[in-house]
Amino acid sequence: MFGWLDYGARYIVENVLNMSMDTAIGSSVHFFIYDSLKIVILLSIMIFSISYIRSYFPPEKTKKILERYSGVSGNIMASLLGTVTPFCSCSSVPIFIGFIEAGVPLGVTLSFLITSPIVNEAAFAVLLASFGWQIAMIYVVSGVIIGVVGGLIIGKLGMENQVEEYVYSIRSRARKIKELTQKERLKFAYDSTRDIVKRVWLYILIGIGIGAIIHGYAPEEVLAKYAGPENPLAVIFATIIAVPLYSNALGTIPIAEALIGKGVGIGTALAFMMATTALSFPEAVLLRKVIKPKLIAVFFGITSIAIVITGYLFNILL
């Protein structure tokens, strides 16, 4: 699909910059040019398409849909809807309140809240660009499964008393959901694409830059030894390092791509990526406004364990 781009980048390296593809610097520069263009193109296409779909599922509508499902199907539906919802973690609190107020069970609400940050369209696009369809789909499916299982466990634990009391007493003003015209949906998709690309391009370029250096210079044997699929501690370690890196989540993918090329386990890289988006300290602080510390701990505990398990699974499978 991107053969032409690979050819173009090669042409620039060999004929414009007069470098050989066989040298470390030539290979690094090629990686940088090729990856940057590929990622920006795919990112724009993906965000545009998902935002268009999202225009059909504003949180108010999601809430209405979820009110109709009970039991496991509620968790599955919530997790699926979580894949196409907002990028901004600031919305998680009002969404949480809205769901609980509408009578959506706590476990179902958390299925939504777990999957929503793990699976986002920008990360999907960058994964697609870096690793292809198979890995990108695996990423979505495992994100959904983690959300369903996490929500089910929290539901079973009966932690309703861990929600701040005031949440149950909020009554939102009944409003009509505005139906958008096709033109408005396209504008919405265009605006979000511009907005997200503007917000993340620098992180991605920095990530690709670091990736390019790793690609050209990192010693293969050392990385494979410490972070390869054979090292059982690598996944846990990757998950822990990922937590403070929230804002640079997308930049980590090209780094992961280069690392995998050098022998790091795919599951390890995937765990690292999921943890950067799903386990963020700022989100914990925000969620504290609606849920008590014990439930926050359970929420983050289950999500981390699920991510680590997913990491191991992929190191074994792929």
């Binding site: 504003p58 949180p59 108010e60 809430k63 907002p86 901004c88 973690s89 600031c90 919305s91 609190v93 009002p94 969404i95 309140i97 809205g98 107020e101 005031y166 949440v167 909020i170 009554r171 939102s172 003003r173 409003r175 919405f188 605006d191 979000s192 907005d195 925000l286 406004k289 609606v290």
Partner: protein
């Protein structure tokens, strides 16, 4: 007229606040611009932040409207 910005304090909410301030200045209207960061109050109005409420009506939610867009909506009211 009372314009309320709903948001828990992330970067987007700050941008919306600045844009609303600018729109009000450019339109030269008499409006009081306030911020609400309390989750409970925000949830009464919208589920996706940032949101903009004029008097009691939600005019934007879940996005950062440009100064032009805000001016457009305000002049319609």
């Amino acid at each position: 007229m009372k314009i309320t910005i709903l948001g828990m304090g992330c970067k987007k909410c700050v941008e919306v606040y600045d844009n609303v301030k600018k729109a009000v200045e450019e339109l030269k209207i008499d409006a009081e611009v306030v911020k609400i960061t309390d989750a409970a109050k925000i949830a009464e109005y919208v589920m996706s932040t940032p949101g903009v409420v004029v008097d009691d009506e939600v005019i934007f939610e879940g996005k950062v409207p440009s100064v032009e867009e805000i001016k457009n909506e305000l002049s319609k009211l």
